[in-house]
Symmetry: C2
Subunit: 170 residues, 2 copies
């Protein structure tokens, strides 16, 4: 149920259309909360029906600009402060580790090596992203930078772990 809150959060910065939000997801939130186009338009309709956002303007091509209502902001704050995030650790990557012994050892090590490489590549992608962004003092910059740092540390950790694990299997 968090796509709701992701949308409310983005709208708390400034009004936007579904299309705008779609673009902004791709470039910022996609890493922490992927969402499809279809899901977003559906959710926006629901949010509007629930009074958490309103259509504040209409533009060409049927464009609808949504604005956060007071109720929406209250709901966003409520989500942030009153509800406990439950860490959804469901990890395809780690699940496989449990069953690596049904493969020949060299295949198992191959999987871990691939994981290490993937983490390294992702790390480098994030570094490049970090350098390409003009970080300001605005809230999104501060928070976005913090989230990105998490990604960097996660991938560094994962690479080291995968290398350590490959040694252990050998």
């Amino acid at each position: 149920m968090s796509l709701r809150h992701a949308l409310l959060g983005l709208l708390s910065e400034r009004p936007a259309s579904g299309y705008d939000l779609l673009k902004r997801f791709e470039t910022s939130l996609a890493n922490v909360w992927p969402a499809t186009q279809s899901q977003m338009y559906t959710e926006l309709s629901k949010l509007s029906a629930d009074g958490l956002i309103t259509v504040s303007a209409e533009g060409p091509r049927g464009r609808k600009e949504y604005t956060l209502t007071d109720e929406g902001l209250t709901e966003l704050r409520h989500w942030l402060t009153e509800t406990r995030p439950q860490r959804n650790t469901r990890s395809d990557l780690l699940l496989r580790v449990f069953f690596l012994d049904v493969l020949p050892p060299e295949h198992a090590r191959g999987y871990l090596a691939w994981l290490a490489d993937m983490s390294q590549r992702e790390y480098e992608d994030l570094r490049r992203l970090e350098e390409s962004i003009d970080w300001g003092d605005d809230p999104l910059s501060v928070n976005g930078r913090i989230a990105l740092e998490y990604g960097l540390r996660l991938n560094a950790m994962r690479r080291e772990w995968a290398e350590w694990a490959a040694d252990r299997i050998g």
Copy 2:
């Protein structure tokens, strides 16, 4: 679609009933792939219908013991080697970070402090779990130990990151 493979994986070690698998999930795979009772029984029926497992014995109280078939083992190996895990990074925890600026700074820092504490507690829980288990040389021990190490490193990383982030906001 990975619950299938989690079940195939567990059955690759030894035959078991739905109830057995349920218990083993709770104590081992729950951290990487939570599943409900209802989901597991449904999936077992499907796996059986698809010929990847068979009912190898029936016991008291309607107990059905499932055994992996050759086809099932093939499917498990196929999943491990031929399909690429897509890291499903959807993270409730991190999503909130993006919107911390709608809260007063002390609340935002409070959230990060809580995150650091939670990670620390989880770290300690895993350490205790590690010490409580009699690690052998069997495949499950080796792999389980590797997965557990991932949890330890993740939580250590997360704690440090949350502390670093709290400083940044202040």
